[in-house]
């Protein structure tokens, strides 16, 4: 790589995007149809929940990643872009893998919700690779990751006999580890040059807070939307609500406690307040009283702050991994914790009398935990390898975390 000048994407980006979109349109033309609306009220009942999910992904996750002071445009816009690509691909794969009985598969509000939620894995992972890849690479990553996640889902439902709800709650673990692994391949060489641009400004921090708040507010919908029985839905909402509230308070307390002058870090507020919602994802319907959810939120908030405070140093120096948005602390660690607590709860639920059965269940739960994590890591390493090929015209490291590489930026944006 001779020049630091960002390579033009003039030919490759439109080419890739247009070909892809035409393929999508053709597939939709040949293989999909609208479902005959059975009951109007059914649609209206689910539609508000779909809107909540959409706000979370389009607005929440986009602004959640807008914390780099020179990279806010790309964070918000690329998020929308990869969501748009991912949803179409996820719905196609979903149709072929899970509902392909007749010649065509039907599109309804549930398939859109599932498609949107499956695409969330990409939006999470792109937090780890944020600022280090260009749009073409993002398209490739979106396609590969959605495919990998749908495959994992299929595996989990076929072989581990997981419910659809449970398999979709693996989003956080899968997305976080996929992203971390992909970022590992991308950040092998030194990243010191980019330190300056990695700074966060006050306004970009406030934008991130906006994103976090929307994720935080709508998380109960996210955890409850796929459940069918109203009773379970209710419990999922309550559990998530209390877990989130507790993790917000805990995150701030531990943030002050781990700072030498007792100051709170806004970054911790962004990341660790969400930990409760992530952690409770898998076990939300088996928790039967609020205080258990609150304890879970407490431990998730703690682990996220500590993970965010001390792990990046280790990541950066020992395994040379750079996780831009801290998705590992936000989504990875709390999801792992949630899984472990799930195993404990299952064990407690079955009691210790019937040891063999309990052991069996624990083993299965461990499989639930291991599979998405392994698939995420494996898929991530592979994707990272593919993304590091030269053909994608990836940005030079000096241009990491900089909007200027992709956007037309007018000289005086300074309105102050």
């Amino acid at each position: 790589m001779g020049s630091k000048y960002p390579k033009s994407l003039r030919i490759s980006l439109p080419l890739w995007a247009l070909i892809l979109e035409i393929v999508f349109i053709l597939v939709f033309f040949f293989f999909t149809s609208y479902e005959q609306p059975s009951e109007k009220s059914e649609l209206l009942k689910t539609y508000p929940a779909f809107q909540d999910i959409n706000v979370m992904l389009v607005l929440g996750l986009a602004f959640f990643k807008a914390s780099l002071w020179r990279y806010t445009w790309s964070s918000v816009a690329f998020n929308l872009f990869s969501l748009a690509v991912g949803v179409q691909w996820a719905i196609i794969l979903d149709g072929f893998l899970f509902n392909f009985s007749t010649r065509k598969f039907a599109i309804n509000i549930h398939s859109i919700i599932k498609g949107t939620m499956s695409t969330m894995v990409v939006l999470i992972s792109s937090g780890a690779t944020l600022g280090k890849i260009n749009l073409v690479q993002l398209i490739v990553m979106t396609l590969l990751e959605v495919t990998a996640f749908q495959g994992t889902k299929k595996l989990m439902q076929e072989f581990l006999k997981m419910y659809e709800y449970e398999s979709l709650m693996q989003i956080h673990i899968f997305g976080a580890y996929f992203g971390v692994a992909a970022a590992w391949r991308l950040s092998e060489s030194e990243l010191n040059m980019a330190k300056e641009k990695e700074r966060r400004a006050v306004a970009s921090n406030l934008f991130t807070a906006l994103g976090t708040l929307f994720l935080w507010i709508f998380w109960p919908t996210f955890n409850s939307v796929l459940l069918n029985s109203p009773g379970e839905k209710e419990i999922a909402i309550y559990n998530t609500y209390y877990a989130l509230a507790v993790s917000a308070v805990t995150a701030m307390s531990f943030s002050a406690a781990t700072h030498s002058n007792g100051k709170i870090s806004m970054t911790h507020v962004h990341r660790a307040t969400l930990a409760g919602g992530v952690a409770i994802g898998v076990s939300t319907i088996i928790i039967k009283s609020p205080w258990i959810a609150m304890v879970l939120g407490f431990s998730a908030g703690t682990i996220a702050v500590i993970g965010d405070k001390y792990l990046p140093r280790f990541f950066n120096q020992v395994i040379r991994l750079h996780d831009t948005c801290g998705v590992h602390a936000t989504f990875g660690l709390p999801a792992l914790l949630g899984r472990l607590i799930y195993i404990l709860l299952i064990a407690g639920h079955n009691g210790w009398t019937n040891l063999s059965e309990t052991g069996n269940k624990i083993l299965i739960s461990a499989g639930y935990l291991g599979l998405p994590m392994a698939m995420g890591l494996g898929g991530g390493v592979l994707t990272g390898l593919i993304l590091s090929f030269n053909i994608w015209k990836s940005p030079h490291e000096a241009k990491y975390f900089d909007d200027q590489a992709f956007w037309e930026v007018r000289p005086s944006m300074n309105l102050l």
Partner: protein, 435 residues
């Protein structure tokens, strides 16, 4: 450095917050459960009940957005205080909703109780009182003081709400009196006790807004404005009452916006608009119509209430706030008196008039007047007591010169001054290819 200005919170704040949080978990463990345990797919009744409860869920989400995004961003107008506005707002609400659930449940049930979506809405409501009061003392207090205020204010609020709803049997569907007026006068009383002569001499350097901080505040305003009909109708009886609450609030807000713009232009120099008025006074209509939102006041009645509220709110910002700060020694940072206090009182009076005109038969004029009186009374007494407790100089409040500054309690990005408040793309030299 005197003890009171010891602002290092490394021990104080985490210790206090975590012990409060642990006590919440213990209280919930003993007193709060779920009404169902999810295992009753066969029981038709319970399923119907769940479905009914879930119908409220979209309304709850709207209220949730208002509390966390709306109130949080509304207070980001100060140039150096955005982190605290949004962050401490989140902390207050997250702790407050737990304490609010507990207090309201225990007052109404006196024993172990179950929660439903409605109690979550009520819990969010109870945090609104603290957030309003937070606006009055914004920039002059420490997070530790806010933790104390959450606990004290919500306790007083729950008692007052119990008094108004269960004993006086007054109606206050959109909570103009029990939340808005209560929160505002509570906050004013606290601000009065915590008054700092040092801040009065001249306008504090940090107590100003910049272009972008005002724009951030508009995010909050717009979210509050959009979802206010949900706020006023969330706990109304399903059917006619809920429908009326939505419609009335909608029109009241619309009318209020016009009057706020008109009067802002009228009172300002050369007819220019003042962003403070636009951020706050446009919402006054929603506050004022709250109490009679579900009564048969007709859309024109709602618009009338909204118009009056808009006018009073702008005039309050222009003429009353300076008087409060100089004569009464009450410094109200966000002007909550004009956004919540006065419109809340207008709401109470409007409900008395509406009852007199026969808009409802659920309550009487005397009951409504008594509800207004007790709300104001408990707020002021509670606020004075809370203020006295917060005045004890061990809670780490900021010294005068560091008021309205995030960097006392937050890790703030190291940029010089606030010229990098927003990112700049002025550095084009890097784009040139290397020679």
């Amino acid at each position: 450095m005197p003890l009171s200005f010891e602002t290092n919170m490394r021990l104080k704040f985490p210790f206090m917050a975590i012990s409060l949080q642990l006590s919440m978990i213990i209280l919930f463990g003993f007193f709060v459960g779920y009404e169902n345990d999810g295992n009753y797919v066969q029981q038709i009744n319970a399923t119907n009940q769940s479905e009914k409860s879930l119908e409220l869920y979209p309304l709850f989400q709207d209220v949730h957005v208002m509390i966390f995004t709306g109130f949080g961003f509304l207070m980001t107008f100060l140039k150096k205080y955005g982190f605290s506005s949004v962050g401490i707002n989140l902390m207050i609400a997250a702790l407050g909703l737990q304490w609010g659930t507990f207090m309201q449940g225990i007052l109404h049930h006196h024993k172990k109780f179950g929660i439903d979506i409605k109690s979550m809405i009520n819990a969010d409501f109870s945090t609104a009182t603290v957030l309003i009061s937070f606006g009055a003392v914004l920039g002059k207090t420490s997070p530790v003081q806010m933790l104390i205020m959450v606990i004290l204010e919500i306790s007083v609020f729950a008692a007052n709400e119990y008094l108004v709803v269960e004993i006086l049997e007054a109606t206050d569907i959109g909570a103009s009196m029990v939340i808005h007026a209560f929160g505002a006068y509570f906050g004013l009383a606290v601000a009065g006790v915590l008054y700092r002569p040092g801040l009065r001499r001249r306008r504090h350097d940090n107590e100003q807004s910049v272009y972008y901080s005002d724009l951030f505040a508009m995010i909050g305003t717009l979210f509050l404005w959009m979802f206010w009909p949900s706020f006023n109708s969330a706990i109304a009886d399903a059917g006619d009452h809920q429908y009326r609450a939505i419609v009335n609030t909608y029109f009241s807000l619309a009318a209020c916006v016009l009057f706020a713009f008109a009067f802002s232009s009228l009172v300002e120099h050369r007819g220019k608009l003042d962003m403070v008025h636009i951020q706050n006074a446009t919402l006054a209509g929603g506050v004022a119509v709250g109490t009679c939102a579900d009564m048969e006041i007709q859309p024109f009645g709602a618009m009338l209430i909204g118009s009056i509220a808009g006018i009073v709110s702008v005039l309050g910002f222009k003429f009353l706030t300076p008087v409060f700060a100089t004569k009464l020694r009450i410094h109200d940072t966000c002007g909550v008196h004009n956004l919540h206090g006065l419109p809340g009182v207008i709401g109470g009076i409007a409900s008395i008039v509406a009852v007199a005109l026969g808009a409802t038969n659920k309550t009487t004029m005397a009951n409504q007047a008594a509800a207004l009186g007790t709300s104001l009374g408990t707020a002021i007494v509670g606020g004075l007591l809370t203020g006295l407790i917060l005045k004890i100089p061990i809670w780490g409040e900021p010294p005068d010169q560091n008021c309205y500054d995030d960097s006392v309690y937050w890790e703030v990005p190291e940029v010089e001054g606030y010229s990098h408040y927003f990112h700049e793309h002025d550095d084009h030299s890097q784009l040139q290819p290397e020679a």
